[in-house]
């Protein structure tokens, strides 16, 4: 575990350091950071403003009473000792007792070296408190500076991690990496916005300024802490088909469709750049907080793969445990085939999504826009997994696989005996016949896996009615393990 080095240099060797700004003027001052998080004049400290390296407060965020704590990076770079960790644990006790959301602002080199194993034990107690609170109160982390070792795993245990432009997250810093492995890497490449936003999935939301980071934390507190009631009369219909290309073969970006589906200006996407073939977005629908899960055909054709299944599974479980209903927008050609996927554990990791949807007790409504094939059909909140209601647009295809691929298997012998020049024509005929038997939306309605075919221009109101019918305030009784 990385620790901040705060050994003093003998005075005779010391090079004159630029004089430190007084704490009041230091942008790292936790009083300032907490004040910027809360509604004006609502902050009340619940810990001593001393040199523990942590400061905790309670106050209002967009009208939601919220507990927060902040690293004090003006003291030993925010390193965490026994006293500072106790501040965080006490903040968690308060949040749990009053069932309030809790926000952590992080800027810390990790455990205090001088305190030895005492500081490790203290950091461990934070992890324990976070885990006990998991799924009971929303936990949001904002990483504003380096967060190393224990300060990295703290945010990682919470529901949503926001990274500011100066935020860096890693278990061991560049110096340790260099001395152990010889790899030369800086903090930005090791644990900055690019690696954590795109590659690791550690960070859910990237912010381009500290103010923006705190603003996104406030939006999340409001979405999870004040979910509102679904007002079906506030949900106006728009023609959602306009967001899809004419050709059913054409890939497209699903974001505009998700934005149109939700109330204007309410969408907050989590993990936008990691596993971009599935979109996970929180927002409001008829004024009520909802979670949207949508395949994105623009990336990997919208296929499910191991990473996207894991991303979606965690999102589903988070929404379920906080009682946030789900809208599932399906346009999926299947699971991504290939050696890489199998070796990457697509079976194990894909199973997480099956598990997450199956156990979810919040209302969860599915909309198939174009197609839903194979194992991915099942995984995308199908009737069999307990979907509240399944809608499909006219012409949607629901099948084990595309019709041409299916007839090539089903009629392999027959096709092999046909003159190669005639084969495409025969294939097309067989595919058409197969579609009417096995793949059309009418068949799916007939056997009960689709409840209703709905016009794109009437979809918003249909989804609202289905959600409102099933919204009885039930939520999942489980934690939100960082899958």
């Amino acid at each position: 575990m990385t620790a901040t080095d705060h050994r003093t240099t003998p005075p005779q060797q010391a090079t004159p350091r630029p004089s430190k700004p007084p704490r009041e003027d230091d942008p790292r001052n936790p009083n300032k950071r907490l004040a910027a998080l809360y509604d004006a004049d609502s902050l009340e400290l619940i810990s001593a403003d001393g040199d523990s390296g942590m400061l905790a407060a309670i106050g209002m965020i967009d009208g939601v009473r919220t507990v927060a704590f902040c690293s004090d990076a003006t003291v030993m770079g925010g390193a965490m000792g026994d006293e500072g960790c106790s501040v965080v644990v006490a903040a968690y006790e308060r949040a749990m007792a009053d069932r309030l959301p809790i926000v952590g602002l992080w800027h810390s080199g990790g455990a205090r070296l001088a305190e030895g194993v005492l500081s490790l034990d203290a950091v461990g107690k934070i992890f324990h408190a976070m885990t006990l609170a998991s799924g009971k109160v929303p936990q949001i982390s904002v990483v504003l500076g380096p967060a190393a070792g224990g300060a990295a795993y703290g945010p990682a245990l919470t529901d949503v991690v926001i990274l500011g432009p100066e935020g860096r997250i890693f278990v061991t810093g560049p110096d340790v990496v260099r001395s152990v492995t010889g790899e030369d890497v800086d903090m930005l490449r090791l644990g900055g916005p690019e690696p954590h936003g795109r590659r690791s999935g550690v960070v859910h939301v990237l912010a381009d300024s500290e103010e923006h980071a705190l603003g996104e934390a406030r939006r999340l507190v409001a979405l999870l802490g004040d979910q509102g009631r679904l007002d079906v009369t506030a949900v106006e219909d728009v023609d959602l088909a306009e967001q899809l290309p004419e050709s059913v073969r054409r890939a497209y970006d699903v974001h505009p469709l998700v934005t149109e589906l939700l109330d204007a200006g309410s969408a907050l996407e989590l993990h936008p750049r990691w596993a971009p073939n599935i979109v996970t977005t929180l927002g409001r629908f008829g004024g009520r907080s909802v979670g949207v899960i949508a395949n994105n055909p623009l990336r990997l054709g919208g296929c499910l793969d191991s990473t996207s299944a894991e991303k979606a599974a965690r999102f589903v479980r988070m929404c379920d445990t906080f009682g946030v209903p789900l809208l599932v927008v399906v346009d999926v050609p299947g699971y991504l085939p290939g050696v890489g996927q199998e070796w990457d554990g697509v079976v194990r990791r894909g199973a997480k999504l099956l598990h997450a949807f199956s156990e979810a007790s919040v209302p969860r409504v599915t909309l198939v826009t174009r197609k839903s094939y194979g194992g991915a059909y099942i995984a995308m909140n199908s009737r069999a997994l307990g979907a509240t209601r399944v809608f499909a647009w006219p012409g949607a295809q629901i099948a084990v696989m595309g019709a041409v691929a299916a007839v090539r298997i089903l009629h392999r012998r027959k096709l092999a005996s046909v003159d190669p020049d005639l084969r495409p024509t025969v294939e097309a005929e067989l595919a058409e016949e197969h579609e009417t038997i096995a793949g059309g939306v009418e068949k799916a309605v007939e056997i009960g896996v689709v409840d209703e075919v709905v016009e794109p221009a009437k979809t918003r109101s249909a989804l609202a009615a289905a959600l409102a019918d099933a919204d009885h305030g039930i939520r999942g009784q489980h934690g939100n393990i960082p899958l």
């Binding site: 054409r250 299947g334 991504l336």
Partner: protein, 73 residues
């Protein structure tokens, strides 16, 4: 530094859209791949000038293969 655009998945190169010397924006399609019975555009990702198109129509690419190189502004 030149920006390399790579294939995200195994696919046939269905159509090459961009040519060397073209100016492209981040959301412009360079080539259109065909995979999973869909036409999937490969986007430029950066603003700049195309300095290399590494594939031809009908070619099969696998994950990670170079599609094109762009010299960003």
């Amino acid at each position: 530094m030149a920006h390399e655009v790579n294939a995200e998945l195994v696919a046939n190169v269905w159509k090459v859209v961009a040519s060397v010397g073209d100016r492209v924006a981040a959301d412009d399609a360079l080539v259109i791949l065909e995979s999973m019975k869909m036409e999937i555009p490969v986007l430029a990702e950066v603003v700049g000038v195309v300095t290399e198109v590494s594939v031809t129509e009908g070619q099969v690419v696998t994950e990670g293969d170079r599609i094109a190189v762009i010299e960003p502004d």
